[in-house]
């Protein structure tokens, strides 16, 4: 197993990724790689990225998250971005950032509900 950037939790065939470290470009790219590897290793069908501890998401971080969701989709996974803080949502919306191909939820419970409700 390669070095993990963030600890993850497997629940059913979902992968929960709580991000609790400051996101710089290298870190967010490393998280992307880690998620894709874990999808393959653990037969994952849904990803939940918890960003409730993150207080700055800029255009490059949101681009990479969106790109990760698109890559995961090609591997058969849906991605939920969970717990975006209100001022982060405000900032991203005001900048004109549009995160595509990803589901959003307030908390882990609703993230799991969203993934449960998606039928491929």
């Amino acid at each position: 197993m390669k070095q993990k950037v963030v600890p993850t939790i497997k629940l059913y065939d979902y992968l929960i990724v709580p991000v609790q470290i400051e996101l710089d470009d290298t870190t967010v790219e490393a998280i992307q790689r880690q998620i894709l590897e874990e999808i393959e290793d653990k037969q994952i069908r849904g990803i939940i990225i918890d960003v409730s501890m993150i207080d700055i998401i800029d255009s490059y971080i949101s681009y990479t998250l969106s790109e990760t969701a698109a890559m995961a989709r090609m591997m058969g996974c849906h991605t939920v971005l969970c717990g975006i803080q209100p001022h982060v949502a405000l900032t991203l919306a005001q900048m004109g950032v549009n995160i595509k191909g990803i589901h959003f939820a307030m908390d882990l419970e609703s993230s799991i509900e969203i993934l449960n409700s998606i039928k491929d």
């Binding site: 400051e22 710089d24 255009s59 900048m95 004109g96």
Partner: protein, 145 residues
Amino acid sequence: MVILIQINFEEYDVAVKIKEEKDIVVARQMVKDIARRLGFSLADITKISTAVSELARNIYRYAKEGFIYVKEKKEGQNVAIEIVAYDKGPGIENINQAIMGGFTTTKGSLGLGLSGVRRLMDEFFIDSEVGIGTVVIVSKRRRSF
């Protein structure tokens, strides 16, 4: 530097040299602390630090090296934060295109950096000369509510 604007760097409270990718995080954390100390709201602190993150990344990506300067601006009762991003990089060929948004010369980018910064801040000034460098000056007033 042939750039029109003259900046007296000694007026600024803090300077961060942007040379490595890690410096982007250092710059935005530093500005976040200053904005908090000046009493900005949480929403504005986030907007200001996100704007600095974009400016610092532009320096790192395009100029490789440059500086972020920060100062507190007092005008009577009003407090504002002013940030300068300064580099001697390649400069921007078409400034209008760069600040319109949706245009990028980089793979893996939304092209929302500068246009996003302009939307997040109250005032936005940019000057750039190809082969000489780029200066971006932004500021945000503290709102009381």
